[in-house]
Assembly symmetry: D2
Homo-oligomer: 344 residues x 4
């Protein structure tokens, strides 16, 4: 059985395990105030070319999102997001539990357009009775999106402009950032993201770490007292060094990108095999997640040897599913899947 259900089904890059072993008995202060976290922060600032940025290590993605969003908003504000955004549909109301509404913007591809953003802002701030509705206080986007889509440099630049004009932060959820940055379809860099966003996180969990996400805050106004929020929301790990070690392992020798590049290549090989069979896709994805639409019969043929994630039932009865590769996917698994697809 080869599993393609998601990109968090294995442990971590072996270099990270090695670091953990090498440092196991070294004594350090807790709560992220240790030398490893400090080193990892430096590597990340360097990676993003953002020497003044604050970097905080968070345990997971939902926690990074809820901590950042609730820290950045005032109580009467909500966060704009694509209706399909992770915070709107897959976090059990984590944002609302901090008191804030997710202001959902309909979007055909899971991306927020500058036009839709502007329309939402104009509708609110142009309303003479605006205090009766939630004030849009920031924009949340994911990169790649939940369906593997990428913003272009020009799209991100436009969003950033609209946000800055409106005085609201632009926050980017980079749970799968490495898969986006290394996609052939990507025309932007970590530096662009750091420059255009006010805060964002580099995913660790789905990109080769055991756990952990690196939240980068570039907007000076959002930096103050952030560690209080991490503690309050339950995210300040006593042995914070573990998170530092994850990101040292990811960042050193370019592993963060090279591991993702390989996974993208594998995903495209699977895509090519599916396309060759005339199988269509829910939405074309240039990253490590692929969303083919398969018949019950086709799925039954694959089921004995492969796993995937069910995505949604199509009106015609077929099934949109997700096949995911990761830093850990073996070539033999991909080859087996490609061969099986060819026999469908």
């Amino acid at each position: 059985m080869y599993r393609f259900t998601c990109d968090y089904e294995e442990g971590c890059l072996p270099e990270i395990l090695r670091l953990m072993e090498q440092t196991n008995y070294v004594q350090t202060p807790g709560y992220g105030m240790d030398e490893y976290c400090e080193k990892a922060r430096g590597l990340i600032r360097n990676f993003c070319d953002a020497p003044e940025a604050d970097v905080h290590f968070m345990v997971g993605g939902t926690q990074a999102n809820l901590t950042a969003i609730s820290a950045f908003l005032r109580p009467w504000q909500g966060v704009l997001s694509a209706a399909t955004g992770h915070i709107n549909v897959h976090e059990t109301g984590a944002i609302e539990a901090t008191g804030h509404k997710v202001l959902a913007l309909e979007s055909p591809d899971g991306k927020v357009s500058a036009k839709a953003l502007k329309a939402a802002l104009d509708a609110h701030f142009g309303d003479p009775h605006s205090e009766h509705t939630v004030q849009p206080g920031m924009l949340y986007i994911s990169y790649p999106t939940e369906s593997g889509q990428l913003y272009s440099l020009s799209e991100l630049t436009e969003l950033s402009k609209v946000c800055r004009k409106a005085g609201i932060p632009l926050y980017l959820d980079g749970a799968r950032l490495s898969y986006g940055l290394t996609s052939d379809a990507c025309d932007l860099t970590a530096k662009d993201i750091a420059r255009l966003c006010d805060a964002f996180y580099l995913g660790g969990t789905k990109c080769g770490a055991l756990f952990g996400e690196a939240l980068v805050i570039t907007n000076e106004a959002l930096k103050k007292d952030f560690r209080y929020m991490i503690k309050q929301r339950g995210g300040m790990l006593a042995k914070g060094r573990m998170l530092g070690l994850q990101f040292i392992g990811l960042m050193e020798e370019g592993r963060y990108l090279s591991a993702a590049q390989k996974a993208n290549r594998q995903a495209l090989a699977i895509r090519a095999a599916l396309e060759e069979k005339g199988i269509s896709f829910l939405i074309p994805s240039p990253t490590n997640q692929q969303f083919p639409i398969l018949t019950d019969k086709q799925l039954a043929a694959l089921a004995p040897h492969f796993s995937w994630d069910f995505w949604e039932k199509m009106p015609d009865g077929r099934n949109a599913v997700r096949f995911c590769t990761s830093w850990a996917t073996k070539d033999e698994a991909v080859e087996a899947l490609v061969a099986a697809v060819q026999k469908l």
Copy 2:
């Protein structure tokens, strides 16, 4: 430099690291639904002799506390706690951030007495205008307490009786549970705790794991839908298996207790050396935390070679400090400290 500042300054028991390595490339489902978590749950149920208990793995202690407390209370209820309880003083308002007041009970030694508990309940429920004050909805205790104290079996039994009569859950924070259970002064067992409490957690982070706490819910009424809360509060780790592996490593071959027993022995050796020098203590502790009161001069003599945690300034100018041992403390470190104390 030997650090005695706290019990989370190193990595983890080597057996845990080994498990992580051995299983690194095994593919499993995420979010704690894997075979390792399942195995760890069984080991813990067995350890507590609570075959029907629900066991959930939480990332850290503050998160375990805030998730459990906010799940168990209704919105108009608060949680009773010793004024010195961790949730009241060292979690940056994590409980209040979920909407609940911590109802602090004054206590000379950090323990809640059945008498004080009963008085608080009577005061509230006997008030004809009780709806103007926060309703006590559960009791939080820590074992050992923040200053290393233990409840006796008889004390815990009394608390449990009062809680059950009032219909409110008794919740025990066992961040350092293993140090309590293996103390010479302890007359209760994990089974007693499971039997007398409605929910509690076995600390992992401070007891030899990289991270993670195991929340055990024995009260049927508190079990429903708890995984929703873990997800909502940001605590559902994608690679949940890591937490399972921590507790397999701790539970197998009795390591959870044996590692703590050694640390307790070391702490008592340090205590003995201090007592021999006539040094007094803030409060006598039978566990791995010791709270001697030292002069500035004495601290200055120790500072080049040892670290500790500052606790509080005494009225006479001396300093109450904390020396902590852990599963990882080396005998040579203890010997060096003992020798240094003898020269004070």
Copy 3:
């Protein structure tokens, strides 16, 4: 200038003012524990034929909604509502500020159908990973809806059945209840509502009172400790008797219904005049709110003498607006408006 902007532009029924004057110097206990509140509760129980119901007086509608919804839900649950529901669009995130997501159901006419409700419940509870999404915990409907629509007895019965089968409360926001109950299009009674819903409120503010809404809880399981919630959310009026007096004034001699009946009649007269001119409506309404679609020129002609509420811009440039009558609308105002419409 005659104002038709909304139904809360005047004071209150003169009989209420008289009651306030007559009782001004009578001394009573505070917080709703007085004889007037008690009498009003009896009148309302009688009105709804719900002798066992709990009745609480709330200051306003948003407060009634947020207090009831946050009291009834568990933290991981959200409230289902039509996307156009008042709690979803016009309360500045009041529900989310209590920690709960509003789960919006698209609806062409602002009503929730049993089918849409069932689909939402099935989608959630049929999902093997349901803990990653907000659990639907109750249903909110408004009667009449925000656009003046009514549920039929059969529709409400269906909704009630689905809710009871799923074990979730059905809550009805009756801000304009009296206008609904007295509409020619209404085929249900207050008794039906009390029987089919678990909780609902009889609007006072928009139905002739100075302020105040009467929350009726018929589901035994939702009654406990509700007064704590009123106090905590800032809604427990010290001089609670004022709210009791409002509802004595409304309920006595059938004023609650007769005042609304007159307003409905006036609204239909305005509708008839508009229809005669061939003016179309956003949505046909059988109650005191009418939503004609007028050109800029038509509005300009009316503007010197009448006020209304702007609703939305139509794609063709015309304007959907709202004309509202109330218990206080004078016949001369209606006659003037009808005459002006005839000249459009």
Copy 4:
């Protein structure tokens, strides 16, 4: 039976009722945007000599407190208050329900001293691990306090200085402000309060209105978007004009002060009678609340003809109780009570 239980047992000043009658059929916009609210705001700005202040009308005291405090704080901050402060003990956790801890300062007389305030701020901001505890974000005081005490001009000036140096707002709960300002023991003015505090409210409910409190915000930084908060917390009255009318009635012709002055005079007459009988007091109060300590037998003698509020049981078995006068207390009631006291 004469009731002295509290100062909200009657309706309102007759002039307010008259205003409500006179304006009952005038049509105005809702939500406090009407001419009466505007006029009342002007009268209050004038009363406080604070021409630039923002004035908002709130329905009640708990709501004023929770709305202001949650608007002014950031999520990781708490509000400092005397342990006996209303927000800490008598609001059912309303502040915690907004996510913030009340940081209680012990105080013998219910007042916060500049020294205690400074100590709390120093303890927090001087702690190298401050992010593990709640950050003090504002100071709440009540004037008069819950036990009728007054801050002197010099005390308030000191508090204001410490707050401004620390950059935290000083907020004053003036539920009984008029009784404080007209006490013989008062050496400050409404203008002083407006100058020294960042926000405060003038109580209406307990000072002669049917309901309503006037929140005055003088600190520019706290003004922005406050109406959103009022709406979100359920406090934006549709017929907001009612609140405007209350404060026109209170402010015109100096009624706010003259009504309280009379009540203070009556309270002092009762105090004098009690003192003459050698009865001691829990705490001496120069305002409309008096806290004598009476035996069971003395209370039994008074019970047939008078009501009061039970305050607390004394160690010797006697009872501290509260006798309250108000704008509505009749001289005959005071005379009857004085006569009864003389016979004790």
